[in-house]
């Protein structure tokens, strides 16, 4: 044990060598079973950075910023990226499986129960309350995210465009995603040192 610590500290990058895929699986299984309410990234940070010191804060934030610009959920992307950083692709597989498994099993059981009792008046009434709460919850998540990431009116414009094309014109999310993302990326294109480039296009 102390040998492992000694070699790890000697290598200057302490993370990779010391963590086994099994350890990663167990740690993500715990996160997957205890992170209620969608804030799994906070749980990931306290587990990986604070408690186990498998990653430093800088690499955690770096991976998080990457995970936000990939398709897929933030939580699962973070599991994959940090698992990969700690133990290569077996680490990624272990992390993804661990974080998804508890919730997926619970939701499968929920669906079985729903199939048996979903038609009952009391169940439907309760679920209507749950749905109302979920709307408020999701709106709160949206507002918190918007506060953190909005950088100006241009961002608001892109949000409006996305909403209008999806909800009003009922355009497929795929085309809305490609269209708005392309438009927004071009709007935030790298600024060249030549001033004439800046005034070109759109």
């Amino acid at each position: 044990m102390s040998d492992a610590v000694a070699t790890a500290t000697a290598k200057a990058t302490p993370e990779p060598a010391t963590v086994s895929a099994f350890d990663i699986f167990i740690q993500f299984l715990i996160i997957g079973a205890t992170s209620f309410g969608g804030g799994a990234v906070a749980y990931l940070r306290s587990s990986l950075v604070t408690k186990n010191k498998w990653l430093d804060d800088k690499s955690f934030l770096e991976l998080f910023s990457i995970s936000q610009s990939l398709p897929g959920l933030n939580t699962t992307n973070m599991a994959i990226l940090s698992g990969d950083r700690m133990r290569g692709w077996p680490g990624a597989v272990a992390a993804l499986t661990g974080v998804v498994l508890p919730g997926a099993i619970l939701m499968t059981i929920a669906a079985i129960l729903y199939g048996m009792h979903g038609e009952r008046v009391l169940v439907t009434a309760g679920l209507k309350g749950v749905a109302a709460a979920a709307s408020g919850l999701l709106l709160a998540t949206f507002i918190q995210l918007a506060r953190k990431t909005l950088r100006g009116w241009l961002d608001v414009l892109f949000i409006v465009i996305a909403v209008v094309v999806v909800n009003w014109f009922r355009i497929s999310v795929l085309y809305a995603l490609i269209g708005v993302a392309t438009l927004a990326t071009l709007a935030y294109r790298p600024r060249s040192s030549k001033p004439n480039v800046e005034h070109k296009a759109t």
Binding site: P71, P102, K128, I161
Partner: protein
């Protein structure tokens, strides 16, 4: 008819749309699972999605519930694999590449561009979801008619609690479920 290949196809596709979170894919999920494949009703989809908010881990684990609903435990397994595996491989490959592209100027542009796109798609999903969640009965809300104001009040209550306190959201959802049993019994 065997639905498994369709489940796999639909959920692998949907997972690609979940930029910045699962809600972005919601309008497309409603379209494909309710209108195209008739796997469940609009209300059932809202129920599963809401239940998913109470489950631990990624909130999109609710896809497992749809899989189970359509084709039993095998269905749940197929959907979970389809939803997480292809995008997972993509994330692994692009994640490695992305790390190497730290100094590529377009990387910042793409990240800056994707941020408002993800927010916009999330809001679009939220509107689609909310329209079913806060309606009275089963008819669509039109011109402000057919809104369940009690449900709206509950949503606002949760919103305020979320923004003002540090309360666990799963508890709020659970509490509203209990209140719902008593208040929505007649509707």
């Amino acid at each position: 008819m065997n639905q498994l290949p369709w489940l796999a196809r639909v959920f692998a596709y949907l997972s690609l749309l979940t930029v910045g979170g699962g809600m972005a894919a919601y309008p497309e999920m409603e379209d494909l699972t309710v209108r195209v494949h008739h796997w469940l009703t609009q209300d059932q989809l809202v129920h599963f999605y809401s239940l998913g908010q109470m489950a631990p881990g990624p909130n999109m684990n609710m896809v497992a519930a749809i899989g189970e609903h359509v084709a039993g435990i095998t269905g749940a397994l197929v959907v979970v694999l389809a939803f997480y595996l292809p995008t997972g491989v993509f994330a692994l490959v692009i994640g490695r590449l992305w790390t190497k592209l730290a100094n590529w100027p377009w990387r910042t542009s793409i990240q800056n561009g994707l941020a408002p796109t993800a927010l916009g798609l999330m809001l679009a999903g939220l509107i689609t979801f909310g329209k079913t969640a806060i309606r009275l009965g089963h008819t669509p809300i039109a011109f402000g008619v057919g809104i369940n104001w009690i449900a709206v009040a509950m949503a606002v209550f949760v919103l305020v609690m979320m923004l003002r306190t540090k309360i666990n959201p799963a508890l709020l959802v659970l509490a509203c479920g209990v209140i719902g049993v008593f208040t929505f019994r007649g509707s």
